[in-house]
């Protein structure tokens, strides 16, 4: 007795060539179609070609990347610490906590300075956003967001509004008011809408535009008044965790860092990625421009901070030490760019000499990880926020 394979012959018009033929079921991208045998064969060979193209594209990309690295290396004729040998070493640094701001009931996640050099806004895990006069340690405003983990907050350049967002996937702008009868939450304006958590936000040169970074892998520029999306920036392969606007004369670029270990420099006008750097070994938690705008520093979970030069198009310095095991969550430069302050997840703050590459000082005081760190606009102090519910101003 022979095996009887039953073949169901369906006659009809082929989905591809529309001729009346015997049809076979065919699956294309999980969609079932009916092709005649000729078209089915053609499709099989097409698929093969597609795969070949993918492989050749991949190898082309790899070879170009290799060439790019070669070109970058050609112009690298000296290391930073060699050039910095003739610079005078910095003296002993004594920095202490000058103010402790207590008032958050939960982990402080983000903070930003006002242009008046003394006010700050800070946000925490329980949804509270507080505006302080950190010189007197008075709280001036407080608002509770309808979500937890407010991971981003920013002060408007005019000092009249703040922006914040987090797990609600949005960035909201609150105008600051001293009117007792007005509820700050009532005037809230929802500006940005992302499809995942908001990790960072920053006003551009005015109160009218906001730049945001999100866990959905994109950055975006928004018009505050209308909430309109002005430009979006795609290119990161994973969550974007931080961003910083360039202090350049033409004021057109910003840098972002993400979980794909890449730091990317973007042109705000066109939405294109202008430069990308991929030397970190883990998530990049924080990026900050060097005051001249020609370079930027990044802090990452791989326990190193790195300096990338934009004109040389490469990494030029690594700030790391064997005894530093925990990731750097936040970095910022002093006014002259000589010092780099970095807050780490092991509750400490390390101060690095940017030119010599050595660590100048280590600051203890926080009782849980340091989540955010910013130098004041006139460089007289820096403020650190921590998961121990407090903020400290150091000078």
């Amino acid at each position: 007795m022979c095996d009887q394979t039953f073949l169901v012959n369906v006659f009809g018009s082929c989905d591809k060539c529309f001729k009346q033929r015997a049809l076979r079921p065919v699956f294309k991208k999980s969609q079932q179609l009916s092709y005649c045998s000729t078209c089915a064969e053609i499709m099989a060979t097409e698929g093969l070609r597609e795969n070949e193209t993918l492989a050749s594209l991949k190898s082309e990309a790899e070879s170009l990347k290799g060439k790019l690295e070669e070109e970058r290396a050609k112009l690298h004729d000296v290391e930073l610490h060699q050039v910095a040998e003739r610079v005078e070493a910095l003296g002993q640094f004594v920095m202490k906590t000058r103010r402790t701001l207590k008032g958050h009931g939960n982990k402080v996640l983000c903070m930003d300075w006002c242009k008046d050099k003394r006010r700050i806004v800070s946000s925490s895990q329980d949804g509270k956003v507080i505006v302080w006069d950190s010189f007197t340690t008075n709280k001036e405003h407080a608002v509770t967001m309808p979500c937890t983990w407010v991971m981003a907050c920013a002060y408007a350049p005019s000092g009249c509004a703040i922006a914040c967002g987090g797990l609600d996937n949005k960035c909201s702008v609150y105008p600051l008011t001293f009117d007792k009868n007005e509820n700050m939450a009532a005037k809230k304006k929802s500006v940005a809408m992302h499809t995942n958590y908001l990790s960072a936000c920053s006003f551009t040169n005015s109160d009218m535009q906001i730049l945001t970074a999100s866990g959905d892998g994109t950055c975006a520029l928004w018009d505050v008044e209308s909430g309109q999306l002005l430009q979006s920036f795609h290119g990161h392969g994973a969550d974007v965790l931080c961003l910083d606007l360039a202090p350049s004369e033409t004021g057109n670029t910003f840098v972002s860092g993400g979980c794909d270990k890449k730091a990317m420099v973007w042109d705000m006008r066109s939405g294109q990625c202008v430069q990308a750097f991929e030397t970190h070994e883990s998530d990049i938690n924080s990026v900050r421009y060097y005051p001249s705008g020609d370079a930027f520093a990044s802090g990452s979970d791989d326990a190193t901070c790195r300096l990338y030069d934009l004109r040389a198009d490469r990494e030029v310095a690594i700030y790391s030490k064997e005894s530093i095991i925990f990731g750097a969550s936040s970095v910022d430069f002093s006014l002259s760019g000589r010092l780099l302050f970095a807050g780490y997840n092991d509750y400490t703050i390390n101060v690095w000499d940017v030119l010599k590459g050595s660590r100048v000082s280590i600051l203890f005081g926080h009782e849980n990880r340091v989540s955010t760190l910013r130098v004041s606009p006139d460089g007289t102090a820096f403020c650190s926020g921590s998961w121990d519910h407090t903020l400290r101003v150091w000078a």
Partner: protein, 467 residues
């Protein structure tokens, strides 16, 4: 249940690189030759082998990493906090004492990096064991957890008690020393995974990251991704690069020039407000003052951008340009900035105003740009957007920077300001350094009325900064 959100099971180790690094440190600490000196510790009647003292741990760390004792103590404390080293005598708190207190290294079975989901059932069994072994051994928060668990998994409670009794019976078979060690190890494990209220949970990592990487895996392998990469590489290869030596020298000169102006590096006169509680420094450096400080006037000479960013500097420059009858350049630049960063809704009106004032033939403040740029700009004005005036703005900016700015720096006006701004005297050393000055509060920028005119000469900050 105590602190910390539940971690998703099977969280990739790659996301916690610090755990692996800590393990490497701990392994090298146990090296028989190079590691910390081990000794047998006597606890009452039992002798526990392979114990180390807190002091030895700190000293070893200080020597190995060439750091101060304070830092070594901190590093050691972090290792203890993560459960890699546990105290033998007082296993309730994970603290490193730099004295003779005995410690031991945690067995890899209980290492934090294994990231076993510390299940409720296991915790219940552990608490039950403690409870059975010695009445009143459970601390307050443990008692609470015990009761909560009892309610939650009451259906499996028999299993819990049975397991607890079995484990206790099996433990009795062991030597007293081993029993003690295992009890300490287990206690440490649970202190890390179920910290008492108030203690930081070292396992908490914040909101989950890279939750989209799974979907991105498919994206990264597509032809589009590689095409974009190739395009980016091609563009990057075509870019001009600068030699490292040139770039790095630039840092040296930048830091050198700005060093004296950096309060954290060189201090500031009369005093740093945060240190002395005196805000005189801010009063003297307010955005608009009658007499700018010498350092500030010096900064205007560093770069054109610095000059424009300082409201006083910009005002002075505007005066200077007025004398040269080229003030419209700066006004035009300011109007362009306003267009670039203004509200989307204002774009048409702003563009129109700029055209009327600066670009239209016969305009009141007509700016002098080359015909090609003017043509391109006027063409672009048909479809106004934020960046429509970029070309013209760059042209005027470059003109001011290369021509008017150097002349400003050589002018009598600037030289005069520089000479007038005397060097500040240091505040007299206080005889009683502990007298606290009352800290003056300042009015919030949010209280001041915002400027109304769109093309006013004030900077983007609106000149609202206050002492």
């Amino acid at each position: 249940m105590a602190a910390g959100p539940a971690r998703p099971p099977g969280r990739p180790r790659a996301q916690m690189p610090h755990l692996r690094k800590m393990e490497r440190v701990v392994v090298s600490m146990q090296d028989p030759d190079q590691g910390v000196k081990m000794r047998s510790q006597r606890l009452l009647v039992t002798v526990i082998p392979h114990a180390v003292t807190g002091r030895d741990v700190v000293q070893w760390l200080a020597q190995k990493f060439c750091v101060s004792e304070e830092e070594a103590l901190h590093l050691g404390a972090v290792l203890v906090l993560h459960g890699y080293i546990y105290p033998l005598r007082d296993p309730r708190s994970l603290v490193l004492r730099p004295d003779d207190t005995p410690y031991r290294f945690q067995t890899p079975y209980f290492w934090t990096s294994t990231l076993w989901p510390a299940a409720e059932l296991d915790y219940a069994i552990y608490l039950a064991k403690k409870n059975i072994q010695k009445q009143g051994a459970l601390v307050d928060y443990e008692k609470e957890c015990y009761d909560q668990l009892h309610k939650k998994i009451s259906h499996a409670w028999d299993l819990v008690l049975m397991q607890a009794r079995e484990q206790l019976r099996a433990a009795k078979q062991r030597r007293k020393g081993d029993r003690l060690v295992i009890a300490c190890q287990e206690q440490t494990y649970w202190l890390v995974n179920r910290p008492p209220p108030g203690a930081p949970s070292v396992l908490e990592q914040g909101p989950e990251r890279g939750s989209r990487t799974a979907s991105h895996v498919h994206m990264t392998k597509s032809a589009d991704f590689y095409k974009r990469e190739i395009e980016y590489c091609r563009r990057a290869l075509g870019r001009t690069r600068v030699k490292s030596s040139v770039c790095l020298e630039a840092y040296l000169s930048f830091c050198g020039q700005r060093g004296p102006h950096d309060p954290l590096v060189s201090g500031c006169l009369p005093s740093n407000p945060w240190i002395s509680d005196d805000d005189a420094y801010w009063v003297m450096n307010a955005p608009m003052v009658a007499a700018p400080t010498k350092l500030r006037v010096e900064r205007w000479g560093f770069s054109f951008r610095e000059l424009l960013e300082d409201p006083m500097g910009r005002a002075q420059f505007m005066d200077f340009l007025g004398k040269e009858f080229s003030g419209e350049n700066l006004s035009f630049w300011e109007a362009c900035e306003e267009l670039r960063y203004g509200a989307q809704a204002q774009v048409p009106t702003l563009v129109d105003a700029v055209y009327q004032q600066f670009l239209a033939p016969g305009a009141a403040r007509w700016i002098n740009i080359d015909s090609r740029t003017m043509e391109r700009t006027l063409e672009g004005l048909r479809q106004p957007h934020h960046y429509v005036l970029d070309d013209a703005q760059l042209h005027i900016y470059t003109l001011m920077k290369k021509d008017s700015y150097p002349r400003f720096l050589k002018s009598d006006m600037y030289r005069g300001l520089l000479a007038e701004a005397g060097v500040l005297l240091d505040t007299k050393r206080r005889v009683f350094p502990f007298t606290r000055r009352p800290r003056r509060s300042s009015p919030s920028p949010a209280l001041l009325p915002t400027p109304v005119e769109p093309t006013a000469a004030s900077g983007p900050a609106g000149g609202n900064g206050v002492a």
